[in-house]
């Protein structure tokens, strides 16, 4: 089982066990990890599941819609910004940082 570590804006780390195929967003929400709101439940409609992917964690490139939605996150996007509902877990352990606010 891949582990997913979420680093809050204040530096607090929460690690949870994830399942391959689940998204980084789903894993956070189900386990009540703060920092990801995910109002639309992963349908790429809300941009409230913004994360910064840490160096060493790799995901497939994003599609246009995700790219567009990232322009509307509460905290401005950066180079390593992604919408976590689009990040599916594989076998590797993952680290992401969550922004200060999502809405």
């Amino acid at each position: 089982m891949p582990s997913v570590t979420y680093i809050s804006a204040t530096g607090r780390e929460t690690a949870v066990a994830g399942f391959a195929g689940d998204s980084v967003m789903e894993t956070a929400v189900r386990n009540g990890v703060p920092g990801i709101v995910a109002e639309c439940g992963g349908s790429l409609s809300c941009a409230t599941c913004h994360v910064f992917v840490c160096a060493g964690s790799v995901f497939p490139a994003m599609e246009d819609l995700e790219d567009d939605m990232l322009d509307g996150t509460a905290i401005d996007r950066e180079e390593n910004s992604r919408l976590s509902c689009q990040l599916k877990l594989g076998d590797a352990d993952i680290r992401v940082a969550t922004p200060e606010t999502q809405v």
Binding site: R30, G41, G72
Partner: protein, 430 residues
Amino acid sequence: MTDTAASARHASLGTLIIGNCQAGVQLACSLRELGDTDPIVLVGEEPHAPYQRPPLSKAFLKGEITADSLTFRTHDFYREHNIELVTRERIVSISRDGSGGTAVAESGRRFDFARLALTTGAVPRQIPFDGSELEGVGYLRTATDATQLEQALGSARKLVVVGGGFIGLEVAAGARVAGLTVTVLEAAPRLVGRAVSEQTSEFYLQAHRRRGTRVVLNAQVVRFLGEHDRVTGVELGDGTVVPADVVLIGVGVIPRTELAEQLGLAIDNGIVVDGSALCSDGFTVAAGDCANLPNPSITPGGVARLRLESVQNAIEQGKVAAATLLGLPAEYSTVPWFWSDQADLKLQIAGLSGGHDQIVLRGEPDSEKFSVLYYRAGQLIAADCINKPLDFIAVRGALNHGQNVPADLAGDVTIPLKKLVSAAPALAGK
């Protein structure tokens, strides 16, 4: 029991939340986030742990996801946060005493409480036509409904949807992709009439027709016909019969107010609450689809109160209600927003368009990528964005920050909306 004995009993009881879906779960989680350490009991009648409803009419029917993957939180989460999750218990009676009260389930199980939240949601509006009980005729609200519909559609060739609202159109679009013959019967002269403008309705009419769905407006359903207890068709007022293997009825929902009525709370198209989610008794809170709230947008000329049926509203109101229960100041003031995915048509709505006096079309509806912007006295108040996430994001942001987009420029698709957002709102003038 004396008053003091009653209050001592209730003090240790904590919060009872009736209805364990979107709003109820949010309320429970928010209570803990706000530092509440009293017991929390979250009770619902459905057999499942709380789950998301929106995918039921979308990805779930396509078989892309299972019911399990819709669960909001793991059982460990509820345990760790000391939230007692109770399923399969329908509360049928409720009463208040000095400092709290008692709710009783159909099974006879009692739930005493010191604080009370009603997050009872809504049920599909039923239609009384002959033949509604035939096999193959159904509604869609719960995971159980969705499982039945998925099974029925699996072997069906002809789907008839009664009601051209969001849920019906989502199911219709999915069924067309799967190759079924689909007919949508809408009683009104246009689709999704309650939620969007005529422009957006007209777009959906054309878009669904382009995808091969037959849409009948001003349709008057008279009864359902069947053979061997199974539905075979829908009879219309003019005598025509639309053949059907499956009929989905999606004609809106009715708020569940039975318990609120027992408590003597004010009710008017839902449980009447104030901006802090407090009911008329000054004790109970209510949130989500069951609650009728003051309009959170400042739109003079628009309606003063409304009942919103959306995930975003259930979440926001759940948060506000939790704070109110703990005696913390809280006011529902966010800009409502909503989405609907109909196959490849993504709709995102920001704001409430009620009371608009001007519409600006941004883009060409037939291109299936455009937005409808709503104005009142020169101020942007809402937008329907179809396959235009950038417009949606810009409008939602502008509305959240009290900004404006000048109406005379908003239709120019060569300029990103984001660039047009102006810091100061236009002077409303009236």
